[in-house]
Symmetry: C3
Subunit: 277 residues, 3 copies
Amino acid sequence: PPSPLQPPGLPLAPCRSFSNNKIQVELDESSGVAVMKFKSPPVNSLSLEFLTEFSISLEKLENNRACRGVIITSALPKIFSSGLDITEMCGKSIEHYTEFWRAVQEMWLRLYGSNMVTVAAVNGSSPAGGCLIALSCDYRIMAENPKFSIGLNEAQLGIVAPFWFKDTFVNVVGHRIAERSLQLGSLHPAPEAHKLGLVDELVPEEKLMEKAAAVMAQWLALPDHARQLTKTMMRKVVLDRLVAHREEDIKNFISFVSKESIQKSLRMYMEMLKKKK
Amino acid sequence: PPSPLQPPGLPLAPCRSFSNNKIQVELDESSGVAVMKFKSPPVNSLSLEFLTEFSISLEKLENNRACRGVIITSALPKIFSSGLDITEMCGKSIEHYTEFWRAVQEMWLRLYGSNMVTVAAVNGSSPAGGCLIALSCDYRIMAENPKFSIGLNEAQLGIVAPFWFKDTFVNVVGHRIAERSLQLGSLHPAPEAHKLGLVDELVPEEKLMEKAAAVMAQWLALPDHARQLTKTMMRKVVLDRLVAHREEDIKNFISFVSKESIQKSLRMYMEMLKKKK
Amino acid sequence: PPSPLQPPGLPLAPCRSFSNNKIQVELDESSGVAVMKFKSPPVNSLSLEFLTEFSISLEKLENNRACRGVIITSALPKIFSSGLDITEMCGKSIEHYTEFWRAVQEMWLRLYGSNMVTVAAVNGSSPAGGCLIALSCDYRIMAENPKFSIGLNEAQLGIVAPFWFKDTFVNVVGHRIAERSLQLGSLHPAPEAHKLGLVDELVPEEKLMEKAAAVMAQWLALPDHARQLTKTMMRKVVLDRLVAHREEDIKNFISFVSKESIQKSLRMYMEMLKKKK
């Protein structure tokens, strides 16, 4: 059985890893800790394929008794994840929108409701859906680089964060800060994000994984069962709200994304991104 | 169409204003920003007439497509608003109490639920109902003068803030601070109010309007529709609670204010205020 | 009638006191303030007998018109209260578990719902149920000694804090801090507890009772009726949740504590405590 007190990753034990197209996972069975790295250039955007791989990877780890915790980070420089892939929301069929949105929900339900200890090692910018992933972990460590920013900036694109993004955000930063940040679609530079409580800790980028492993060891020192029941008690209300309104939430997304005005502003945003390159 | 990026108030565009007895409103159509000034000496107390004018002014602006945001401030020195007018609660008929309380509710429902960006420029003390007005805005800037104080001090007069005052307060400062502040009926000097998160920013009094215009410009840089939907998502639960219990809340107020003990302490309080002059 | 403005405890007025086996109570009728001292060596653990005395003492004071506030502290050095007495949870009958858990609930319902002003003068460590007692007061002052710690550390023993411990905690420190602290079973040294908002104020140990009396005088300066209604408004939702689920909560406790794995870890914990001595 894995010892929670053993320094993670040190005396090298049998280690299983698997890699899909978009995400690479390495599980150190001696520590019980998996490291999940997003590797979908250029910006780890959350496409349908990415989200599907993400959910499957989480499910595999969740069902692996040798895995007790997962550190989520990016294999790309400067970016953690750019959030939902806008190409999935432009000029597609209703069926596609339905499948895509269900995959977004699925990812969040698995991550926010995970029985594993989840630590986000945010090693780059993390807007919108990228921020949601960080918010859904148990603990957030961010590289202290002020050029990296994080936030639910949906309002800047003329779109509205779904209620469960909002619920997750309020649970982390409280109502006043969430209200202002969501309305302004703020992207907070790392130091500001730390001040607001959006991330729990800042460390120099080169120390990020070391710190994440140390935090993970601290969380894994607790008996799993009590910790898991406690986590469920804290998050159940918000998880249940999406489960209860899942189909309605999909309908809302479809009706929103089908609007010509929204399609137009998403297309303009994509053009802008292309020109930036 | 108004440009949100244009510095507000500069190249002078057609500007509409209207003024009632108690409140003066100037709308700068080029920026889309209205300034609403309370001018009901001596202390901008919220009489039935004041509240009615306030609600009507908000409604006019809300329905004016040229108006996207409103800055609320006082035309009087040292006082933002002293809160509910106690003379409306003393020795009047049930019908009067009913009409008065409905006007208080109406004002809050309009302000807290406004689709406009609302910025409070708190340029003086702001107890009780005055504090509620500030709490109901999107952003609160206060003159840094420590002689100016703000808070829901109802308990000091032996009365209880209604549940929707409390809900609004908890949304801004969180449960612990609200619980203590409401029980003690605290009036927080500006620096303390800032520390508690009751106001978002302190500036020297002479910079207050300039700062409010700058903040407003920042908020107006966002597309209205997404910002409005986001605001609704954040505030709907609390707004709906009053809507659902409005008549009950009126009955509570009447039964409370009709008590001889309450009438007595309100009369004593008014005597004290008169002597102060 | 007691004057709230009189310095508490000074010109000695008629003073009633009563003492049971575990708790000593002194009521100063001139100030309206009772001091309740836990005196159950070695660590003021919350046995069935202790809890019963605590509830009865609170009830007596609550029904005594001369008493308006209570300061809760420990008569023992270095420890406020060690929390629930584990011997009550080991190798006992279902009937005993039922009676014990009902007593825990009863104590909390009386303390969190008290009409009196309640000030915790935390003069030593305060884990688990000891922390709950402090959290249930209106105000928490702690001796600034960093060797004293406080927190809901149930997860460390492999058990889960009940939902109403959690609700009380969230009301004090907010969701993010409660989530992390509960999952880690953290015991926060006094300075950290202060930083997190878990305690409101730190003072040198020798000034603790003086400060508690001063805070009490400040709270008693408010009219009782308005303050009590305000407190009820703030706490009712959380109190009602336990009242509505009381029997279910007892069943949960019994089914949990009856598990062989839990019995084993509680026995191990007790052995460890014995060896420490």
